[in-house]
Amino acid sequence: IRNIKKRNAADANSDGIDIYSMKVDCKVTSRFSHNVIMSRAVNRANVSKEAFFDVELPKTAFITNFTMTIDGVTYSGTIKEKEAAQQQYQQAVAKGQTAGLVKASGRKTEKFSVSVNIAAASKVTFELTYEELLKRRFGKYELFLKVNPKQLVNHFEIDANIFEPQGISYLEAEGSFITNDLLPLIHKSFSGKKGHVSFKPTIDQQRSCQNCPTTQLNGDFLITYDVNRESPGDLQIVNGYFVHFFAPKNISRLSKNIIFIIDVSISMSGRKLQQTKDALLKILEDIKEDDYLNFVLFGDEVHKWKDTLIKATPENLDEARRYVQNIGIAGWTNLHGGLLTGIEMLNEAHKNGSLPERSASLIIMLTDGRPTKGERNTQIIISDVKNAIQGKYPLYNLGFGYDLDYASLERMAADNNGLARRIYEDSDSALQLQGFYDEVANPLLTEVELKYPENAISDLTQNHFKHYYDGSELVVAGRITDNDLNSIIAEVKAHGAEDNMTFTEQADVEGTAKGFEDQQYIFGDYIERLWAYLTIQQLLEKRNAAKGDEKANLTAQALELSLKYKFVTPLTSMIVTKPEDNEDKAALADKPLEAEASASPVVPSYSSPATSHMYTSVDGD
């Protein structure tokens, strides 16, 4: 979860810094988690030493605060507009006094690291706070913590308190490092609206083997839970803000019409293609008989499996399996051609009525590279795709590996009611692909619109969703502008498998307040912060797809909220001032971006090397 680390984990206590306490304190209220990671260390050496604090936090989280207390003096992080922070940072750089603090780490996490010199016998306390809205996937919320203290710690503790007004239906906790001996140390309990998980191993229980000086606490710690769903949704109002969670159950699933658009350019050859085939074969096993499907492959040329989408009958699925097994590599990357062929096929099928009237259409594209054939200008591709889809079906872009223009894939998906997801090149890539398919495999509703009394609310987050999938949840938040309002009614309209559906939900201020009575778990203004978090996230997504004045407006709005609510987002930075050798030094915490915007295409060219003489070498610039 976090740690103050030694340079070398193997000789854990040799450098004199002793971490005597670490606590991870998580409070979740209505899916919004507030996490405080506190680490206390003492320098037991007789000279000053550097104490390290490394924490991995989820990429979806926003850091909200960081403090460092050395011998009773607290140094706090200040969140500023990125530009202003950079200016301050640059001044500090010129003096040689700075360090960036956050960098992207694994698939799910980013790493916050800071170090400070502390005098002999001095103590230091590091405290990092971050917040995150937990997203429901496959019918559960997941609180993800990374544990890696790197040394034995006298008082190590993970303590999570969950409060869900709808009531908790189940709660699980597990860790990738949890052995049979450690398993009984995970205490979990839930009753009604409250859930609690704690994990507090003694120093001996942390040892990787008997009398070993090393720790076995290293890995992921996951808390998963879900809430009761007696009604399709839950509406909560606190302090002038409301949040609406919508996840109806017991609804018939819609049949789906799915087009897989697969990149088969040469860079996909080998393991990537094999894993794609493995995943498609598994997906074909899970496709329902009333679904329709087709494959479009793009390499040099674009190939369609069938001219039209076909029903997933057992015979057709057999043929599809044979087709998938025989997919081969075909040169360059004609992404534009592949996408437009798939979209046109779906458009045509809708136009001629060959698909079920009540069904959900979607496109899943998988690519590992940038366009190298056909239209290569990503702006034109994005615009053509948007014009061709016209908001009719969501486009999901799966980016395989790292060497691709992920920013464009994100923008294209966001423009078309979908999302982009990275598929990490690893042994489990096939599972990642299947996992994504599973998320969208069961559409329950289409064209979901969540409506609230217009004259009483403002600053509503996204309230129209193309699809609602089984196991997920739609979340809408907003601000109440009518000071006299005592209750709010939400009306949800959607297209279901059999007919159009309408759900209503009502909540009153007093009712919510009563539900939260005597709850120590609530951290004050959580709905307001949840609203701000969601709004910022959506503004940033829209900003990715916007241009000119619109982009500037969205940026200004997101920045204002980031500053107001003290979130470290891609638009803000946190400056941490730390004492070093009696001088204050600055360090900067930024939110790493998943993908940087790409440059406009150029004609490929490269120069030949200067071959006078060269050596196989290692050097630095």
Binding site: T98, G100, D403, A599, V602, T616, S617, V618, D619, G620
Partner: protein, 240 residues
């Protein structure tokens, strides 16, 4: 540090970076036949100035071991220590020295570079990169170059050593990259398909201050797919 792999067959070069934490020791060359091993320890900037991207690390300490000659040479930006059996000699970079021992020639060019030849084995050149003492972030570091690498045996391995044997690669699908000056391409090498980027790296053997640009195909992700195994396979516990 950046690695430049000369591929004479193609009259071209490959390059990659290894991003590892300061303190880590990497095996650069290991030749069981001649008993020559070269390891390099990484150093970072004085301050980790950019945690948003990979840390900049450099070779800060080099260890050249010849088990057949029972000889160890340790080179840092501060000093050069030669241990020959039980005898030890130390030099600084301010010395101008030519040392001829049986099986070993060591030549130090003051404040610039040193050249070491061991028996019939390859010749190595170490370049000293000195940075202004008061530079806010950067510290001194070393560059390591091999000459006559064919004199090492066919069993030579290591992050550099594995490339002393002939290597072939093909370039396909050259296409625009995120940097207009650096196109991307698909490379087929060692039966792997990689996306690579055309770029430049500096060779400092001629001009130790400014270096000479060597155009090369840059392999991302710590040379993944180009090097045998993963770069972490080359992490060793100590310099010798």
């Amino acid at each position: 540090p950046h690695f430049i792999i000369d591929v004479p067959l193609k009259e071209d070069a490959l390059c990659f970076n290894i991003n590892e934490d300061p303190g880590v020791v990497l095996n650069l060359i290991r030749d069981p036949s001649t008993g020559i091993t070269v390891n390099g320890q990484l150093v970072g900037d004085k301050q980790s100035s950019n945690d948003a991207g990979p840390h900049n690390t450099y070779i800060g300490r080099l260890g050249i071991l010849n088990t057949q000659l029972n000889m160890k040479l340790e080179i840092t930006p501060e000093k050069i220590t030669l241990q020959n059996g039980t005898k030890q000699m130390s030099f600084t970079w301010l010395d101008e020295v030519t040392l001829r021992h049986p099986g070993l020639t060591l030549k130090i060019i003051r404040k610039k570079s040193l050249e070491v030849s061991m028996g019939d084995g390859a010749t190595f050149v170490v370049v000293l990169h000195q940075v202004w003492r008061k530079h806010a972030t950067h510290g001194d570091f070393l560059g390591f170059y091999t000459i006559d690498s064919h004199k090492l045996s066919e069993y030579t391995h290591g992050l550099l050593g594995q490339f002393f044997h002939p290597i072939d690669f093909s370039i396909l699908e050259v296409h625009p990259g995120s940097d207009p000056k650096k196109p991307d391409a698909t490379m087929i090498v060692k039966n792997n398909q990689l996306t690579v980027t055309r770029g430049w790296q500096k060779d400092y053997t001629e001009d130790s201050k400014h270096g000479t640009n060597v155009p090369c195909w840059f392999i991302h992700n710590n040379g993944e797919g180009l090097i045998d195994g993963a770069y972490t396979d080359y992490v060793v516990s100590s310099l010798f």
